[in-house]
């Protein structure tokens, strides 16, 4: 296994900038997730790492060695595609052994490695079948197996779970995590699904329109989003954002929006009088019924998701979503009282987080 470093990667398609000055470092053995909406350049980045596409500027390094001039074959990486891209004219075992065959491994060794991998993935009974005779989940396993069997320096996974149904996706996700811990493989994993990113990644990089917004552990990404894009892209339901101004009352700072005001605790002096956005996650809003303290909000809609209840309400003109325990019994049209703890607020100025 190898470490991967990307230095100042820029990729243009004509006048469209697909990737703009991307820098990142994936430690040997890390599970690294590229998260972003479709069209953010994450798949292009994967293609560049694999050597299938060429960057306009910057370098790709494996174990500190530049591989820009290397063909995909020389880079010795493996890739799992979103649509699996199994060779339809070959059986499962031929599919699994193809990469080994292309590298001139002796036949007996190929056979042994193919069976080993098939057993690891629980597909040894399918090795004689063609891809069209397999279910979606089985195809997905074969695609994974084709990458695993070669023991490459780096795994590149391009939304490998997005074609599975929801239940299967969860079980394969767990299995993937287990496989990673077992094999200590270096993985670069692309997804637009934040749950996948948060559950799988040791490190997550959030991208949008070819730019890296934030790199960090899932906890950092969630708890300290670096800007409003990351704040609203990660987390479900979406973080509430309110626009307003900061003013100072003695030692305390207060946030004023058109509809309400909040205690901000201690913030940077320089923000006084500036426009800011204040974010608060739905689970960080306290709710109480029938009291007289806190912000008044009118309940517009309730959605039940089993363990929790989401309340969609209105604070004056600003919509707000909060997560409430199951036992909260408010009804549509009722007034509730909300409380937001200064320590759990995220403050952004011109889109950037104020620490």
């Amino acid at each position: 296994m190898a470490s991967l470093t990307l230095q100042n990667i820029t990729k243009r398609f004509g006048v469209v900038v697909a990737l703009s000055d991307v820098n990142l470092h994936v430690e040997d053995g890390a599970f690294f997730v590229l998260l972003g909406p479709s069209g953010c350049g994450k798949s292009t980045l994967l293609q560049i790492v694999a050597g299938l596409d060429r960057q306009n500027e910057g370098s790709v390094l494996l174990d500190g060695q530049t591989v820009d001039e290397f063909s995909p074959r020389q880079r010795d990486v493996a890739m799992v595609f979103q649509n699996y891209a199994l060779y339809p004219h070959m059986t499962v075992s031929q599919n699994l052994g193809f990469g080994l065959r292309m590298r001139g491994i002796p036949k007996s060794e190929i056979e042994q490695k193919v069976m080993e991998t098939a057993r690891l993935l629980g597909i040894e009974h399918l090795v004689k079948r063609k891809p069209r005779q397999l279910s979606g989940g089985q195809r997905q396993r074969v695609a994974m197996g084709r990458a695993l069997v070669r023991r490459p320096r780096l795994f590149l996974l391009d939304e490998p779970l997005s074609n599975l149904d929801a239940r299967l996706r969860i079980s394969v996700r767990l299995e993937l995590k287990r496989l990673h811990q077992q094999m200590k493989a270096t993985i670069l994993y692309v997804t637009h699904d934040q749950v996948e990113a948060m559950t799988l990644g040791d490190q997550v990089v959030v991208m949008q329109e070819g730019r890296v917004h934030q790199i960090g552990t899932p906890e950092t990404i969630y708890n300290r989003p670096t800007d409003t894009f990351v704040a609203t892209f990660v987390g479900s339901p979406v973080m509430n954002l309110f626009e307003g101004k900061v003013d100072r009352q003695g030692n305390r700072f207060r946030f004023h929006s058109a509809d309400f005001s909040l205690d901000l605790g201690k913030v940077n002096q320089a923000l006084v009088g500036r426009n800011v956005e204040v974010g608060v996650r739905p689970e960080d809003i306290g709710v109480s019924e029938g009291t007289e303290t806190g912000l008044r909000a009118e309940v517009e809609m309730l959605s039940n998701v089993g363990a929790d209840k989401y309340i969609h309400a209105r604070l004056g003109n600003s919509p707000v979503t909060l997560r409430a325990p199951r036992n909260v019994t408010c009804q549509t049209g009722e007034t509730i009282r909300l409380s937001m703890d200064a320590g759990k607020l995220h403050v952004f100025h011109e889109g950037k987080r104020i620490p």
Binding site: P72, M79, L86, Y87, P88, M102
Partner: protein, 273 residues
């Protein structure tokens, strides 16, 4: 209304089928008649299934030797055309769409020159290189004339092929050519076959160039051979019909045998399903 539509549709199909089949069937029936039947008035439609004309076409007119020439010429044309069209088609399928479209249009334009306009220079060129009355002298213009359509068919087929398959092959350690040969070509058999059939039929049936380039009876192909059956005073209708039958039958059988191949895409199962 739907009843009327259905009947009209059926009638249309029957009419167009009859329109193309009747002349062919008349020929087939003539081939199996006797000399007396062919010239009978009023004409007899049902043949007596005599093989006299076949025997005479083979023994007296030596058509097997024309047949062999046709097999050599059409066969080499097909092999050369498909080989070149595969490489060209692959390159065009991977070019940026705008350029590929432009190139395909230019290639197609080349196929639109009327034969009569190119035969003069072509003949002089072949005489210059000494290829008149040689197989390669005929194969060369055939390849040039069949390439555009073959490139079109194959390029469009390659373009439909999911790019990921090729990417997977490259990551698995293939070179470009390796990926083409090991992954893309096996999956493109229907497309290659369609192009090959078109090419083969063209070269098999072509008359005009063959007549002018191959004047030596030892090298002439079937269509030319048949056309030259007629003497100054005789038109051996029966033998012509028998020879035409022998020329056409292999094509019909080939297309019927492989039509499923031509129609079915092999790539089912490559992509999620």
């Amino acid at each position: 209304m739907t009843w009327l539509k259905k009947t009209g549709f059926l009638l249309g199909i029957l009419l167009s089928a009859a329109f193309s089949l009747v002349p062919f069937l008349l020929f087939v029936s003539s081939a199996f008649k006797t000399q007396a039947q062919v010239t009978a008035i009023p004409p007899e439609l049902w043949p007596s299934f005599s093989i006299d004309f076949f025997r005479s076409a083979i023994l007296r007119y030596g058509i097997l030797h024309y047949l062999a020439n046709s097999v050599i010429v059409a066969g080499s044309t097909t092999v050369a055309t498909i080989l070149l069209a595969t490489l060209a088609g692959y390159a065009l399928a991977r070019l940026p769409r705008r350029w590929a479209h432009f190139s395909l249009m230019v290639i197609l334009a080349c196929a639109m020159f009327p034969q009569i306009a190119i035969i003069g220079p072509l003949w002089r060129f072949l005489r210059f290189v000494g290829w008149l009355n040689t197989y390669q002298g005929l194969v060369l213009p055939y390849v040039a004339l069949t390439l555009p359509l073959a490139v079109w068919i194959i390029a469009l087929f390659f373009r439909e092929m999911p790019q990921e398959l090729e990417a997977a092959a490259l990551v698995d350690g293939c070179s470009r050519i390796g990926a083409l040969v090991r992954v893309i070509l096996p999956l493109s058999v229907p497309g290659l076959f369609t192009a090959a059939i078109f090419t083969f039929i063209y070269a098999w049936n072509e008359f005009f160039l063959a007549l002018l380039i191959l004047t030596d009876p030892a090298k002439q192909t079937m269509p030319v051979g048949i056309a030259l059956f007629q003497g100054e005073h005789t038109v051996p209708w029966g033998e012509i019909a028998a020879a035409s039958f022998i020329t056409t039958a292999p094509l019909v059988v080939m297309v019927l045998l492989f039509q499923r191949r031509i129609v079915t895409g092999l790539s089912a199962g490559a992509i999620k399903g």
